[in-house]
Symmetry: C2
Subunit: 352 residues, 2 copies
Amino acid sequence: MNLDERKRKILSSVVEDYIESAEPVGSKTLVEKYHLDYSSATIRNEMKLLEEAGYLEQPHVSAGRIPSTKGYRYYVDNLMKERKLSMVDINYIDNTINGFGDTDAIFEQIADVVSKILSTPTVITKNNTDTIENIKVVKISEKLLLIVLMSKNGTVKDCIAKLTDTVEDDVIEKLTNILNKDLAGTPIKELHLALNNVIMKDLQAFSGIMDDVVNSIKYEMSKDMKKLNSGIENILEKPEFSDIDKVKNFINMISTKEIIDSALQKSKDNKLSIVIGSENKEVLLNDYTIISLDIEKDNKYLGKLSVIGPKRMNYAKTISTLKYINSKFKNTLTSGKKNNNVKGDNSEKGRK
Amino acid sequence: MNLDERKRKILSSVVEDYIESAEPVGSKTLVEKYHLDYSSATIRNEMKLLEEAGYLEQPHVSAGRIPSTKGYRYYVDNLMKERKLSMVDINYIDNTINGFGDTDAIFEQIADVVSKILSTPTVITKNNTDTIENIKVVKISEKLLLIVLMSKNGTVKDCIAKLTDTVEDDVIEKLTNILNKDLAGTPIKELHLALNNVIMKDLQAFSGIMDDVVNSIKYEMSKDMKKLNSGIENILEKPEFSDIDKVKNFINMISTKEIIDSALQKSKDNKLSIVIGSENKEVLLNDYTIISLDIEKDNKYLGKLSVIGPKRMNYAKTISTLKYINSKFKNTLTSGKKNNNVKGDNSEKGRK
DNA sequence: TTTTAGCACTCTTTAACTTTAAGTGCTAAC
DNA sequence: GTTAGCACTTAAAGTTAAAGAGTGCTAAAA
């Protein structure tokens, strides 16, 4: 079905009003609020047609209409106007994402910022093909070593190893060399296994300190896999989560790594992907929309930044936020400079 | 009022039943469930006296009784039996708190473990008199420096500084020396100011890299102040939070640093402090109980581990958990060894 | 003197019913 | 093609009634 101008206008108004109000939209509301130059009866007839064509739904017979998945999809693809981010939001982003820290730290900052601006949970998934590039071992006191692992994509992980014995400088140097020789190029997801091999092969001589060093590294890397989302508390404000059971279900769902992974995998081809409601094969996600953006640097895929929320989300704002973040992120990472007037002590100033 | 044996038994049963069920406890329940060898009428008379004496409360006339703050207090001080932690919990703690990482990392592990075992939010406050002991600067690549700050109490913070220019090894050595000379002994809470002074005084010569280094440090330290609690999602399961507004209020409350600080400050004298309901001067906390434990190492006060939840919390289990953690923590920190059969790769195994 | 059976009383919870309000779909007229 | 008008449906809000839980008191029993 081809939608004529009037139908498009009506659909667009229904979507936008519903995104704003969370209430089914009636014909009278449309006429008054959106200045459609027809009577409510005409609008009703049009809405009926839109419903029959699958763009709108009616929770019950005496309620207004809400957009269907198909309706949202049409809106996103054809009706939605590109939206500029407000200066407030731009300033907030600029002041908060300051470029300090490694790739992971910046990923985390981004997730926090996005979840605050959009009041919605945000998930970051990292590309799991990243590899170890370089390892440094620093002696920071008699029995404490700091082990620094740098990845190809610019992630720096470090961990403290508490030694049971003291250790000489030349031992540390040897250890560093061996670790680098054996581990450089290892995919991070295989590090665990690789570490075991290193022990077997080359590090028998260091048995006194190896357990401490290797276990510390393993632990640090395992910790990393866990914290991948932020902003859960924001959904409490949304009317669709006024029921505590829905909140629990939602939290459980996005804490289940498999569900999130399944949702994010299939959208690898295009940089910005939008999966609305029942477009998602995972049934548990059928009431939600996931918008995600591939993050790249020098044409290398670093990971995916995803926003997950109810279908009734602010698509225009979400998309413009992600796009702005993306441009900024590229800049932050590739230049190696912090990009603007960051003074270093205004990181607390943004919104709360 | 002196409570005779029967009253003590009744009070104790009311408290324990209410902690378990979250429902007001009636006389019949007590007789049947706790095998009191009296009729329900006798129990009713006793409960009336207990209410008049202020140990029990009645939500409304046709409901059972719930403990008052005074009732909980009497229970905690006189009736509660010391409880052994279950083997499941002990194993979980042992496998999760593995001694890897610095003091902060262990603090964080502890907060996570406690909040999981007790299903309640946990707050860690750190002693803010900790001072900088030693600073190392490590060059990890052409334009990347890793700055490591060690505190007197064993906290290790590090941050990446991205430089705008390359830097020579001898410059790094000089920089390290100056930083150590000027900053060693500085209280962490004054670090921000101290860093400004250092720039003014000794580091004019390094102006090319100083902004990067100093700002990175400042940012890292500011980040540290934020994340002090975990386990908020656990309260969703508790019946007192079936109303979403209560959840919101609670989250707001414990996110407000001032409230938590005010609650924790006044209990500095004894190592285990229990503040029940209206004993807390902060009105917003009058429906909650805070149990906290001072954490020490070598007689040095490191910080406070606090559990915050509804008055109706499992006091016995909370206390035994904190005590066990405390003993384990001491062990973990002072020995410099990981304490038991940690294999390093079982950190994911505990409960989810 | 202490304990207990019995019962009237209070208050909450639940269910059933009624009313109100919102918004539709259809018809017939414009 | 558009619109006024109206009967109709349904959810939400309000009302009333009944059921259930637990008490406090009285008077009798131990």
